[in-house]
Structure formats: C-alpha cells, structure tokens
C-alpha cells in the first residue's frame, strides 16, 4: 500500500504535471501523503482492533443478553398464561360441577318437599276423615240420645197431661209403646 502511494508520489514529483498545491489545493501537495497514510494505517488499525476485540463483542453481548431476557420473559409469560388458562378451565369445570350439584340438590329438595307435602296432605286428609267419622258418630249418638230424651220427655209430658186431664195414672209401659210407635211413624 505504502509502496503504491510512494510510487505515485515519486511519479507525480518527477513528472511535475500537477502543480495544484501551489494553485490552491493543499490536498494535492504530496509532501505529507506518506505520513498521512502511515498514521491513518496505525490509528485505524488500533481503532479496528479495539472495536473488533472489545466493543463489538460487548455490544453484541448486551443485545443478545437483552434478547434472551426478553425471550425468557415472553416464555414465562406464555407459561403463566397457560397456567392461568388451565386454572380458568378448572374453575369453569368446578363451577359447572357446582351448578350441576346445586341443580341436583334443588331437584332433590323439591322432590322431598313435594313428597312431604303429599304425605302431610294424606295425613291431614286421613285425620280429617277420622275426625269427620268421629264427629258423625257423635252426632249419631247425640241424635239417638236426644231422641231417647225426647221420648222420655214426651212420655213424661203425656203422663202428666193424662194425669191432669183424667186424674189418674196410666200404665207407663203403654205410654212408652204409644210414643215409640208415633215416633217411628214420624221418622218414616
């Protein structure tokens, strides 16, 4: 490289075709060309080695570590999301189960209550029947009793009336027979 530059330099110097440096362009003055290339080579090589060996690997490391961190975080987030989904599914199935159970309990309860109501109703009906029966029996009894009492009272009244009218006693048995006969006729 330096050889090529120095070659062109010497070429330009010997030919003296370009005298532009004096004309106003210091860039074409070859005095410090070799020096410039020399120092450029040293300084650029130094900065190249610094960049290639230290800075680029460091920056790359930073970027890679960030990317891996981000990937890790995303993976973690995804796994957490999956877990959350699973939990949600579990929760949903639990809720479904609970609903089913609640429905079951509800229907069972309804059934039980219905049965209860039915049985109570039957019981009450039975009781009512029994009580009606008893009441009707009692009524019958009262009826008979009252009839007997009416018989007796009417007998007494008759005997008293007869006594008052005829001033004599009548046979109690005949009165009784007459009353019961009249009563039978009336009942019929």
């Amino acid at each position: 490289m330096i050889k090529i530059i120095s070659l062109t330099t010497s070429l330009l110097l010997t030919l003296k075709t370009v005298n532009a440096a004096e004309a106003g362009m210091p860039q074409l003055d070859p005095t410090y060309w070799v020096s410039q290339v020399f120092w450029l080579t040293i300084i650029f090589s130094a900065i190249y080695f610094l960049i290639a060996k230290i800075f680029v690997p460091k920056i790359k490391g930073n970027i890679d570590s960030r990317e891996s961190q981000i990937r890790k975080d995303i993976d973690e987030a995804n796994s957490l999301k999956e877990e959350a989904d699973k939990k949600l599914q579990k929760y949903n199935s639990l809720i479904d189960e609970a609903k089913l159970e609640a429905r079951k309990i509800l229907s069972e309860g309804r059934k039980k209550i219905n049965e209860d109501i039915q049985s109570k109703k039957e019981q009450i009906e039975k009781d009512i029947q029994k009580e009606t029966l008893e009441a009707s029996k009692e009524i019958e009894k009262f009826k008979i009793n009252s009839l007997n009492k009416v018989n007796i009272i009417s007998e007494e009244i008759i005997s008293e009336i007869i006594q008052d009218i005829f001033k004599e006693d009548l046979n109690k048995n005949s009165i009784k027979a007459t009353v019961s006969e009249v009563m039978k006729e009336r009942r019929n």
Partner: protein
C-alpha cells in the same frame, strides 16, 4: 491568508520530524485529528458499553442503535456471509463518521477532506475485495465482468465497460467522500468570509446561508459515511456472492 478558503486544508507537522529511509513520516495536524477521532470513538464506545442494562442509557442505546444499523445494512446488502467483516465495516463507518463530524467543529481539520486518506481507504477496500473474490471463487471471479443474459455480440463491449467500472471503483469511492467534504468546507469558509467582508449591513444573508449550510454539512457528513460503508458492503457482496 485567513480568508483563503483552502487554507483550512493545509497539512503541517506537529512536533519533531520523523524520517525513515528518507520518507517523511512526521506527526501532522491530520494525524492529530485522526487521533482525536479515534479517541472520541473510544470514549463513545466505552460509555456505550460501560453499563450492561436491560433498559439502556443514552450512550448504550446509541451504540446499540449503531450496531443494529450497521448490522442491518450489511445483512441487507451483502447477506449472512459478510458477518466476519462486520467489525471492519463498523470501524470504517464510525471512523469516517467521526472524522467528518470532528471536521464540523470550527478551527478543526477534516481528515476525510484529503484525497490521500480516502484513496487509501478505497484502495485498501478495492484490493482487499478483489483478493477475497479470487480466494473464494478462484478464476470464476472473472465472471463478474460477464453479466448473464447478454447477447454474445455485445459481450466484448459489455466486458470492457464492466472492467472499466470495476477499476474505477476506488476512484469513485474516494473522490466521492473527498470532494463532498472539501466542497462543503470550502463553501462554509467562503460564506463565512462573506459575512466579515459584507459587515453588519449585508452580512446577515451569508450568515443565514452559513447556518443552513452547517446543518446541510452535518447531514452530508453522516450521509457520506453511510454511502462509503454501504458501497463497501456492495463491493464485498460482489466478492462473496458472485451474482453475474
């Protein structure tokens, strides 16, 4: 002398004269500003890699953006095979960029405004890429001068054009950067001189131009570094993946 717009490109030696075999290797202001750029790059990258945070700070973010920017540029132009040359492209881009940017400071010297510096880079890239092409593809690398799908009649003309275009790569690469930097700095200096010579009355106009030009020059400084790096990538791509 101060009003001569080309004065800023003068090279003069600093310190003792170093001569080896009659060749002058003295440390010059150009060398000083190369060194300043290199030290600035080092400081920038040391600040950028000092912390290793998941959420980066300003300098770490900048250095990582630069890394990703160049990584993407190489991947887009030269593909995966160019990965080993990443540090070189990175160094090249950041060195040219910092030389250009340091040159934007008043009273500084722009290293890349010298044809010899840009030519040295361009020749190194050109020779390196050519050697790389022959090492990878052997004599098949000469196929680069024979585009596929060209009629046989046109082939000799096309080949000559291709060879000329290939050989002119270092020239175009170096002159592009050198001429851009030189022209920009010369213009800035010329307009700066106008501000003084026109004085308070009419000096405002060139001052406005100067401010606008400074902005433009900062853009050009970045753009030329980018163009230099991307063209290197394209040449590298030709050597690595023989498309023709």
């Amino acid at each position: 002398m101060a009003t001569n717009p080309m004065h800023q490109f003068n090279v003069y030696k600093i310190g003792p004269e170093i001569k080896i075999n009659g060749i002058d290797l003295s440390f010059t202001n150009a060398s000083l500003f190369m060194l300043i750029s290199a030290i600035s790059i080092s400081i920038f990258l040391i600040l950028g890699t000092k912390d290793k945070k998941i959420i980066p700070g300003k300098f770490q973010l900048l250095s990582e953006m630069l890394y990703n920017f160049i990584s993407k540029m190489i991947n887009d132009t030269a593909g995966k095979k160019a990965k080993p040359y990443f540090p070189f492209i990175f160094s090249l881009f950041i060195f040219v960029l910092f030389c250009n940017m340091v040159g934007m400071l008043p009273y500084s010297f722009t290293v890349t405004s010298h044809i010899i510096v840009t030519l040295a880079f361009a020749m190194f890239i050109f020779i390196g890429v050519t050697i790389l092409g022959f090492v990878i593809h052997g004599f098949k690398y000469l196929k680069i001068f024979v585009p596929s799908g060209v009629p046989v009649v046109l082939l000799p003309i096309i080949m000559i054009i291709e060879i000329i275009s290939y050989l002119s790569r270092p020239v175009s690469l170096s002159v592009r950067l050198f001429a851009n930097m030189m022209a920009g700095h010369t213009m800035l200096k010329v307009f700066g001189g106008f501000v003084i010579s026109l004085g308070l009355v009419a000096g405002w106009l060139p001052l406005t131009f100067s401010v606008a030009l400074t902005g433009l020059e900062i853009l050009v400084a970045f753009l030329q570094a980018y163009v230099f790096a991307i063209l290197t990538c394209i040449y590298l791509n030709d050597a690595l993946n023989l498309h023709h």
